[in-house]
């Protein structure tokens, strides 16, 4: 009887378990000043590492050797070795770094300095500030085009997306979007920039050639007040066909068809879903849920949540190892 139950259980696990891909996810926990390391195959926490104060923005070098982490209250960016998980250096980020983006060649880090209304370009190798670019009030969202020629920053109070030439470090275009834009993401072909507006409750799709908003995507979840729908993080699939938008306190991730701009599905995740990232094989999407202190694994094939795993307090950002 027991062996039969075991066989059934194994069978059930095999069929019902989500995609198993062996990557490592790194999650920044804003409130308890830690970074959680999660194995995506077992969906379990491997280690929790102490980092600087108020860790938020997190990214990884293209070779997967170093993690860059915004320690906002320490006014610095920490460099963490992914093998030893020790802080091995810092970068001069300027005041209160929140979000940043690494250039496609991996040499420059563009950082949004929320309090100084600046975008700082840092040379990763020399650890020197290359330039400081004045932008709108409260800069936050950062994105860089796949060819590395254009960088986009969103400023929360000005409600604009600023297009910056990465050669001249000059703002070339400003595009007005909805209130409090928090995040920007380029489509993999570089044709569009998607910008989420937290208070406006929309995602604006900007044509990169025309530098104009071509579509404003709205959200409606049955049974939820519109005020609770606050789009933040955006992840666009590598084939450019689907965009996943974290809807903050609405506790859902919207799945958008990038051709028709239709919201195809809302996926239930934890409370105050903030940012999300794909595993390199694109089979799994991981979301950080700030208020429920966990991350949710979503199977991108079925677009169903598979499992939620408790991490540190107020998980903010997540990045996946490239290998």
């Amino acid at each position: 009887m027991q062996s039969r139950a075991c066989v059934l259980a194994i069978l059930a696990t095999g069929v019902m378990a989500g995609p198993a891909s062996a990557y490592t996810a790194y999650v920044s926990n804003e409130k308890d000043n830690t970074m959680t390391v999660v194995d995506t195959a077992t969906m379990q926490v491997v280690k929790t590492v102490d980092v600087g104060q108020r860790p938020r923005g997190i990214t990884i070098s293209h070779d997967g050797k170093f993690i860059y982490l915004c320690a906002s209250d320490d006014n610095t960016i920490q460099i963490i070795d992914t093998t030893t998980l020790q802080v091995v250096g810092t970068l001069p980020s300027g005041d209160d770094p929140e979000l940043f983006v690494l250039s496609p060649d991996g040499k420059t880090l563009y950082v949004a300095n929320e309090n100084d209304n600046l975008v700082t370009a840092i040379d990763v190798d020399s650890k020197q500030v290359k330039s400081e670019i004045p932008v709108g009030v409260e800069p936050e969202g950062m994105a860089v085009s796949p060819d590395g020629k254009t960088m986009v920053n969103t400023s929360e109070t000005t409600s604009m997306a600023h297009f910056i030439d990465t050669e001249s470090h000059e703002v070339t275009d400003n595009v007005l979007v909805d209130t409090r834009p928090r995040f920007a993401a380029f489509k993999p072909d570089g044709s569009q920039v998607w910008v989420s507006a937290e208070v406006g409750g929309t995602v604006s799709v900007i044509d990169n050639a025309k530098r104009q908003v071509v579509k404003r995507i709205k959200f409606a979840i049955p049974g939820l007040r519109t005020e609770t729908i606050q789009p933040v993080g955006i992840a666009i699939s590598a084939d450019g066909k689907k965009a996943y938008v974290a809807l903050g306190p609405a506790n859902h991730v919207a799945v958008i068809n990038t051709e028709s701009y239709e919201v195809e599905k809302y996926i239930l995740v934890g409370q105050r879903v903030w940012h999300l990232d794909f595993t390199p094989d694109q089979k799994t999407l991981i979301t950080t849920n700030g208020n429920s202190n966990d991350i949710t694994f979503i199977d991108t094939a079925t677009e169903e949540p598979v499992q939620s795993v408790t991490v540190g307090q107020q998980p903010w950002g997540v990045v996946l190892s490239p290998k």
Binding site: A5, L8, A9, L11, A12, T13, V15, M16, P222, G223, L224, N251, L268, V269, G270, Q271, S292, D294, T296, F297, P305, V306, Q307, S308
Partner: protein
Amino acid sequence: MSTSAMPEKVGAITPVKSDAFGLRHYLICLKGIVLREGLRFLHQRERFISSLVRPLVWLFIFAAGFRQVLGVSIIPPYKTYVLYEVYITPGLCGMILLFSGMQSSLSMVYDREMGNMRILLVSPFPRWYLLVSKMLAGVSVSIAQVYAFLIVAWFWGVKAPPLGYLFVLPALFLSGMMLCALGMLLSSMIKQLENFAGIMNFVIFPGYFASPALYPLWRIQEASPLLYKLCLANPFTYAVELIRFAFYGQVAWVALGVVAGCTLLFLGGAIIAYDPSRGLITRKQGTGGNG
């Protein structure tokens, strides 16, 4: 119909020994009882529709309204957050089994009042076999109702893992047997059809609400430790949890033990109660029983 002449006839037939029957005869008897129950169910379309409408009203209206009320917390067997509709679906399956089990108890009272029960009870097969056959008939009808409900729920977007629909079958069967046995035991204690309202108020509603069918037990524990203990003492609690875990291919061993134990207990009680020599129905007077 003469009620006074019947007991003598019953007495005349009882000497036939049940040992004289082979498996084939037993199966014919079972088939007859199950077919009768099935036909009765099919012919009562209103019953079928109402048995489907009741859980669907809970799913479509109640669950929609309460979607935001339930606090978020991941409890086994769930691995991530689920919508309230998903949470209450196993409870609603349990509700179908509960109402259906009680309905079969209602039909026993009705049969006794109408005299149909005599036809069943004068059968030379052992009493326990007749009762178990009657329960199997009731459970088969209940399970058909549950699957009809699950199909509608599937189209509503409430989906369990595909294999869960298979795994849940034994859980539904065992839970259904427990509730039918309970209904059978209760039916032996009810004198008249009108008393069924009492069963509604004293068994069905408390049984249903004092269980994790509508809200998780940790919520109930937060609200009232006493109510939580009551829920733990409620066999229906374990039926719901057994079904809930089965949907996800897991076995809730404690729930399985409690449900199996209660099934045997209620069934034993019902067999004793329906035993003409010592059972409770011998004390019923003027209700068409065979005492």
